[in-house]
């Protein structure tokens, strides 16, 4: 009753002659720092969809740690689309419960990642410890803040970025593990999530440098007074973070929302979608939009997870599963 009233009212307000449709809803289950990004995308896409299909669309968002969000979907949260921090968490949707097909990542361009980011350093104003590159992070007396890679998808990118740098510079995995061991010795707090680590660094004043996604670092700078307190330092080598998106096949087929869900994800690749991503500090894929924002996103020497680590499944197993390199660093005597 109330809903139809609202619908009639809305259509009257917009001067539409057609009879009101029942509202279509979509649920986008995402990870932590995309809140602002998707709020803007949703408004823009709802307007676009209204024009295209004449349907009033409501898009709901859910945010949390990437792994937790993936698990919620596996455990029955009816997400039409997932937009998570790493491919491993969407792979899990295939592995547990067959919610998406195995080839999900090939269905959309650019590894199904419409925007990218990278790992940068956020340091305190004036860079008192003179941090320029990864090597400065293992010096004695430098405190590094990064979340726990066991519980945070973002932290896994940080860890792998450091690993990629060390294995390239010092040659090989043993040297890289040694380097990571030294780096982790300088970490006084391992928060469980990326936002927690940012809070520890920004609000609690812990540490000299925060390993953060570029979009998080730029967001901290963009906040009131941020530029007076912090600076971003770009390391000589980092990793290309590709947060992927996918339709959840089992859910959209059940709810009959496949068409709109697919259109929603494709919208992210349009010039408008790319512009919104850039505005929210994510690196756009579209060459034209990227060229426009080249000043904000300086070119960096980036490795990819597939080329440097053989994909997420392998990286997860080698580094973050129980007994992986991260555990070996922390547990004395482990192989």
């Amino acid at each position: 009753m109330r809903r139809s009233f609202v619908a009639v009212f809305a259509s009257a307000a917009f001067g539409l002659a057609t009879l009101a449709h029942a509202d279509t809803t979509l649920l986008n289950v995402s990870y932590d720092p995309t809140r602002e990004l998707y709020r803007e995308v949703n408004t823009a896409f709802a307007a676009e969809w209204k024009q295209q299909a004449g349907e009033t669309l409501t898009i709901n968002q859910s945010h949390g740690g990437s792994g937790k969000q993936g698990r919620a979907v596996i455990d029955g949260l009816e997400a039409d689309v997932v937009t998570l921090a790493l491919a491993y968490d969407i792979d899990a949707l295939h592995e547990h419960g067959d919610l998406v097909p195995a080839n999900w990542q090939t269905r959309l361009p650019d590894n199904s990642s419409p925007y990218t980011s990278t790992v940068v350093f956020l340091v305190r104003k004036g860079n008192p410890k003179g941090i320029k590159d990864w090597d400065d992070l293992v010096k004695p007396g430098v405190a590094v803040i990064t979340p726990n890679p066991k519980t945070s998808g973002g932290a896994r990118w940080n860890y792998l970025a450091a690993w990629a740098y060390a294995s390239k510079k010092y040659g090989g995995d043993a040297a890289a593990k040694d380097f990571l061991g030294k780096l982790l010795k300088n970490v006084p707090v391992l928060d469980s999530g990326a936002r927690g680590a940012t809070t520890t660094f920004v609000e609690r004043g812990q540490g000299d440098v925060l390993l953060a996604w570029e979009n998080e670092a730029l967001l901290a700078l963009g906040e009131a007074g941020g530029k007076d307190k912090f600076e971003v330092v770009l390391p000589s080598l980092s990793i290309l973070a590709e947060p992927p998106v996918s339709v959840v096949d089992k859910v959209v087929d059940k709810r009959g929302t496949r068409k709109v869900a697919e259109a929603y994800l494709k919208f992210l690749y349009t010039a408008q979608g790319q512009e919104i991503a850039a505005k929210n500090y994510y690196r756009p894929r579209d060459a034209a939009v990227a060229a426009k924002h080249a000043a904000e996103f300086p070119a960096l020497n980036l490795v990819t997870i597939d080329a440097a680590f053989g994909g997420w499944q392998k990286a997860q197993k080698t580094h973050f599963a129980d007994g992986g390199t991260f555990d070996q660093i922390y547990v004395p005597g482990a192989k």
Partner: protein, 279 residues
């Protein structure tokens, strides 16, 4: 007179007992059985490997150590607080009485964030403590502080009603018989309170073992140093290792259960000993 003839406010033992058992099954036993079942998907060797890894062992030390320490500190200060609230009349007593329950009411995450802000090295308290050489936030000390906070009401609220029943006349009688203050406290007051104190300690300890929300912000979460067991469970879940997570949860559950049983026995023993003494 036989039981059957006695009048009860609620009718029918059969009905009420049946209701009691089904309610307990629904709320407690079925979820616990599901937990045990899930962990049983691991073989015995895998189960043992999951629950006895060095990181798991270190996390038990942190969790149980901090929970016990927090319980012990509240064991002293909780009854003291209850004593002041029961035995003295002063302005603001009702307010303080209400404040005791605040840790129950406050969402634990809020408590954790507040405590961290206070005790971090740039916080109003942490600044002084750290200058004095004591780092609280991001160490096991911080975990203990958070656990003291969440478990305080258990000790106060379990001791308070017993103290209210304890007439000051008894203390006066002891004094007229020549007992000093310490003797009165040790021989007259404390023996009456012990069962309540122990019950409060058991509840506080069991609660502290499972506490996650308030601890996670202040703990620092360093593997082997300040990583609590509930975080290890979360970490395992984030790797989609459901069975490993439930295996550790089963250990936690068994430990809490054993602690509760042990304290119940101790309580029973003190009551018996006391009635023997009185006789």
């Amino acid at each position: 007179m036989r039981l059957r003839g006695r009048r009860h406010a609620l009718p029918g033992f059969g009905l009420t007992f049946g209701l009691c058992v089904s309610y307990l099954a629904l709320i407690v036993l079925i979820p616990l059985a599901a937990l045990a079942l899930k962990s049983a998907t691991l073989g015995p060797a895998q189960f043992w490997a999951a629950v006895s890894s060095p990181r798991a062992l270190a996390s038990y030390r942190v969790t149980f150590g901090c929970a016990a320490l927090a319980g012990l500190i509240n064991l002293v200060l909780g009854p003291l607080l209850a004593w002041v609230l029961v035995r003295y009349r002063f302005p603001g007593r009702k307010l303080i009485d209400a404040l005791v329950d605040l840790p129950f009411a406050l969402p634990t995450a809020v408590a954790g964030i507040t405590l961290t802000a206070l005790y971090a090295s740039n916080g109003p308290l942490g600044r002084w403590l750290e200058a004095a050489g004591w780092k609280v936030a991001y160490t096991p000390s911080g975990i203990t502080v958070a656990l003291i906070f969440v478990s305080l009401p258990f000790l106060v609220r379990s001791v308070q009603p017993v103290l209210e029943q304890l007439e000051p006349d008894i203390e006066e009688a002891a004094a007229t018989l020549g007992a000093g203050r310490l003797t009165t406290l040790w021989r007259v007051v404390l023996p009456t309170l012990w069962p309540a104190i122990l019950a409060g300690f058991a509840l506080a300890f069991a609660r502290a073992i499972g506490e996650y929300g308030s601890v996670i912000f202040i703990a620092g979460n360093m593997p082997m140093v300040s990583e609590i067991t509930p975080l290890l469970i979360t970490a395992k879940l984030d790797q989609y290792d459901y069975a490993g997570a439930t295996a550790i949860a089963v250990v936690l559950l068994a430990a809490s259960f054993l602690a509760l049983v042990a304290i119940n026995l101790l309580q029973l023993w003190t009551v018996r000993r006391r009635s023997a003494e009185v006789r």
